[in-house]
Symmetry: D2
Subunit: 365 residues, 4 copies
Amino acid sequence: MSSIWGSNIKISLFGQSHGKAVGVTIHDFPAGVKLDMKSISGWMKRRSPGQDLFSTSRKEEDSFEILSGIVDEKTTGEPLTAVIYNKDIKSQDYEDIAFLPRPSHADYAAHIRYGGHNDKRGGGHFSGRLTAGLVFAGGVCEQVLEKKGVVCGAHIKSIKDIEDKSFDLVNVSAGLLRELRAKDFPVIDDKVGNKMKQAILFAREKGDSVGGVIECAIVGFPAGLGDPMFDGVENKISSLIFGIPAIKGIEFGRGFDISKIYGSQANDDFYIEHSKVKTHSNNNGGINGGITNGMPIVFRVAVKPTPSIFKEQNTVNLKTMQNAKITIQGRHDPCIVKRAVPVVEAAANIAALDLILGDKRWIWT
Amino acid sequence: MSSIWGSNIKISLFGQSHGKAVGVTIHDFPAGVKLDMKSISGWMKRRSPGQDLFSTSRKEEDSFEILSGIVDEKTTGEPLTAVIYNKDIKSQDYEDIAFLPRPSHADYAAHIRYGGHNDKRGGGHFSGRLTAGLVFAGGVCEQVLEKKGVVCGAHIKSIKDIEDKSFDLVNVSAGLLRELRAKDFPVIDDKVGNKMKQAILFAREKGDSVGGVIECAIVGFPAGLGDPMFDGVENKISSLIFGIPAIKGIEFGRGFDISKIYGSQANDDFYIEHSKVKTHSNNNGGINGGITNGMPIVFRVAVKPTPSIFKEQNTVNLKTMQNAKITIQGRHDPCIVKRAVPVVEAAANIAALDLILGDKRWIWT
Amino acid sequence: MSSIWGSNIKISLFGQSHGKAVGVTIHDFPAGVKLDMKSISGWMKRRSPGQDLFSTSRKEEDSFEILSGIVDEKTTGEPLTAVIYNKDIKSQDYEDIAFLPRPSHADYAAHIRYGGHNDKRGGGHFSGRLTAGLVFAGGVCEQVLEKKGVVCGAHIKSIKDIEDKSFDLVNVSAGLLRELRAKDFPVIDDKVGNKMKQAILFAREKGDSVGGVIECAIVGFPAGLGDPMFDGVENKISSLIFGIPAIKGIEFGRGFDISKIYGSQANDDFYIEHSKVKTHSNNNGGINGGITNGMPIVFRVAVKPTPSIFKEQNTVNLKTMQNAKITIQGRHDPCIVKRAVPVVEAAANIAALDLILGDKRWIWT
Amino acid sequence: MSSIWGSNIKISLFGQSHGKAVGVTIHDFPAGVKLDMKSISGWMKRRSPGQDLFSTSRKEEDSFEILSGIVDEKTTGEPLTAVIYNKDIKSQDYEDIAFLPRPSHADYAAHIRYGGHNDKRGGGHFSGRLTAGLVFAGGVCEQVLEKKGVVCGAHIKSIKDIEDKSFDLVNVSAGLLRELRAKDFPVIDDKVGNKMKQAILFAREKGDSVGGVIECAIVGFPAGLGDPMFDGVENKISSLIFGIPAIKGIEFGRGFDISKIYGSQANDDFYIEHSKVKTHSNNNGGINGGITNGMPIVFRVAVKPTPSIFKEQNTVNLKTMQNAKITIQGRHDPCIVKRAVPVVEAAANIAALDLILGDKRWIWT
């Protein structure tokens, strides 16, 4: 599906880092939803670059222009297109290195994929800048989810080896998720957050970079959504999440750790509370057989260190096919994790709305 | 897409654990491929139950019947359907517990999803038995991949906290993958394998279960395949892999660990060897920007402990909506990891062939 | 999508005319639907060959075996697979002509498409026999539609130049559709039907064949279903209908004739009747902008004369690449139109249920 | 798939008639194609309104802005987005009639579909203006097809009951198609063209409208493309074509007329010419079993009279739910057929490239 994703709503992303614009078209969005544009601007701002020392100095306001799908601030149900123009572009930074693929960037793979015709400026369509459209779409989807009582939120679970507290898999609350969203540096334990910031600044000073883990939760999600075998919650979320650059792993519930305990410890046994079925533990992250069970959906994603570092690196010259050296210029995030938090949340929102819209149980009645 | 997966080949899975049969239809498979049926039987045998003490005592030969798509052992290009009949069924084991969802099984989620109409016998369509069709498809795909010099293989990376050696991300070879496939218990270090077996038998004796991690590699895969942003290698593989029951996480290359090191350590710098572009390290698992870079593709998946344990567990009675107890009867694997190895390999084969068939660069010429 | 069709329910067809079986898997079918198997058998019988002089002498009972998706005659929501075994096969009829493509059959096109590896016996996957799976699926879908008050039905509009009455586009009723279904030779005017039969027998005697037009209506269909621009009712129905062999055209409402009148004559003006919006005429066949408007959906399809005729024809020998002659042996329908009626109805049922399941307006409430 | 179409290339259309812009994103377009922008502007001009008395007086230059996917006039392989801004908008024409659905427009159906939230100005997303994006995409696709020797072209086959000559199904040539494209009023017989113009002007004077039939051919198309059963050439083309507003029918080859002749007359018998397999007649329009046979692909589409007429019509007031009258103001085409010719050609180009890119026979080699 390329840069199109979705079954019940569909997003079509476009743009390159140093092209005229990036953007998104959302198809099949529900009609008649009054959009709070201020809220969406807040989403864009959380992702936008140039805010502080922890991210790139490229400054983009990431204000968006709506081309279609909205009349009088209400969705019309027709395809909704938003464009974010690129403004602070310094493409000369890339001219010298057009044939020197940057290690662990998409440069080389894309060169082979597109026969060298891909836009090499700023990583082209492979740039993290493409997530601006994703965040817009996430902010839009949220406004439907809110009415359904569904809340998605995330925090920085770790930067390098510095670990924040984990979500309580059973009791993670909408309140905590909203609290985290209001934070400038979204961690549960702010003291840990300060250590993380220091680690990022340390890497920045060294011309190096660090990665981390983002933990995301969806609460208030109804049981019984998702389909076997390939349209399950995990399939859907992961197929969307791996569209975000720099993500190298995803795990649900207790994730990889669940493989280290006994079944008797891992199983989430059921009980009734106020006529509702619940589980004592939530090691499966709210998902059984690909279908939600009504407990919080929790997943974690691994974000690699920004591959743009300022140290000299080995590379090859794709013209001469000889070994070469590269020292990356330009403006880059020493750590992309903080800015990736709203992107992961946005993806969670989009997947959640797609799952909800996929509910066809009303046919029974 | 439900129980249908794929873009360039498509698989449509059907069946329930205790129904008449399980099976698969493969659409868009290349025509004229002479299929080595013995090889496919070997695949089925590796996955089949009842082989030893490490797995369920349910005995199924898993011999398959071809209903369409093959004439004189050659594929016709038309939809290829294989059916595996269910023989050794003991459904009475499930009658008593139809309304007592087994913890961490799909029972409860499916009950809500299907309004209680889903086939409750043996987990229905959610059973691991459905992977028989997947393994058949993987075995069929392999026969095209072999001609392209692509080899997929996997080993048990860990059982509970007992760890096998990891694949050398840079140098993992087709030879090692084939060697592992010939092993009855596929680990690199057989001594570790023995410890794993003991751990499984220990869990079995206790009426408990254990999980583990499977590491899979694809070698010989060409550079330049996969598409941004949602049709990348990670998106494709994960969307397929999470269709396998009991998998709760996936990571590529160095995976979650890459978030713990500096960018200068994580980056896979390029060099030329025999006019071919290679990387010194392979922390990205052969994938940059969703596209292959010619290095081995390596990923790991977390397999949870089999939720079927023989200890008494808490559950709820969905008829009376009261708390209840359940003691699972029936025949179950104390550890599904070994049997899941060929399933993960099969998924890798299917995804690999889908990626290769998605190569449209010939249009340039 | 190959032999897979659908968005909200999906059908995956498989099989070849002279292979072991043909069949279908239906994905995403609603759970808990009690299936009237006798009704489905009735559907199969209407399509089945060997009933009378107007069709092929190949005798197939077209009894089906359910492999999955049904427990105690109720759908489970899991993939529903039905297999129809091929019994009365005389493949020797085809051996001599494997390299002599039959004019206007798929033989030559498929030979190029599949490099000669396609199943040449009886047209392989291109045979009209594949519609058995489609008819099964249509019969299953009908049982949901009935509860929603939606009825699909069709009649033979013409055989060669002999024309039955047309449906009244505005007033076509469920009663008439049911009446037609009960007829052995489904025409509105039985006298015309007799002339049609004579024309078919005349062609049969001459070793020739005739085609015709089938007119299909869907009544009781709610307004507001279908999506612009490519998921509209016409797009959906036509993409499914052209999967039926021998169909060369489709038109909705007044169809091609609407191009011959003035806008003032063509426009379907609105009025209110019993608080319901209706139109005086229905030249648009119940569809505006791809979306239903509550009036009957009516379409017509052109069925070409069966290409299997017994007269000697020119062809080429694909081995020697020289001109050749062919005289088709075997058993063939002198006119496929009558047997195609339930196939077109089945397609209408499948498309109608897909459209209904695609209704997401409940999200507003 | 909504306003997304395609398998091997994908187009995502957006915009409303009186919104800020209409446009298209093309995904999976081949990289490295040097685009002749002048040629694309020519395509846009052929479709653009306000050119003469035969069409609406709304004037739109339909100049496009490329937002992504092109660098230095070459495609990058990344999503290609073009935006056409709406300039000459007079929305006040629509305010009075927001609740008075125009007969045979999408107004009423869309009102029900979107709960009244759809953009009512100028038909919103249902306007013929949306085809500007389709035409852009067609013009882009053509530039790849040309290199493959594939040429698509169309003419006005009829306006009302005035008929142009038909394409010679066997011998229609690229030369004729190019000649037609250069004509201001694309008919084979210019004398007939003059009569058509008079008929259009006559309807215009009466405040009425006329429709017609467009005949389209694709020549130079290779044999062996298209897939059974639902990914065939007819399925693909029709699923795309019915996305064009006002089209109510499609037929391939001899179309509906093939149902009126004997099989012995209808069959296209084969012969060898210069070592190439050809057919003497081409009643099947180059398609057998959904797959191309190397002969010209020919299809015809029925275009209804523009529903916007200036005569008073019956309608209903959706607010008061009472009968009402409507007299449409605004600027409208008395006949949309001429402007629809490049739209149908564009659709043919898009479908043709999608089919070519779907060719996977290289896997055999």
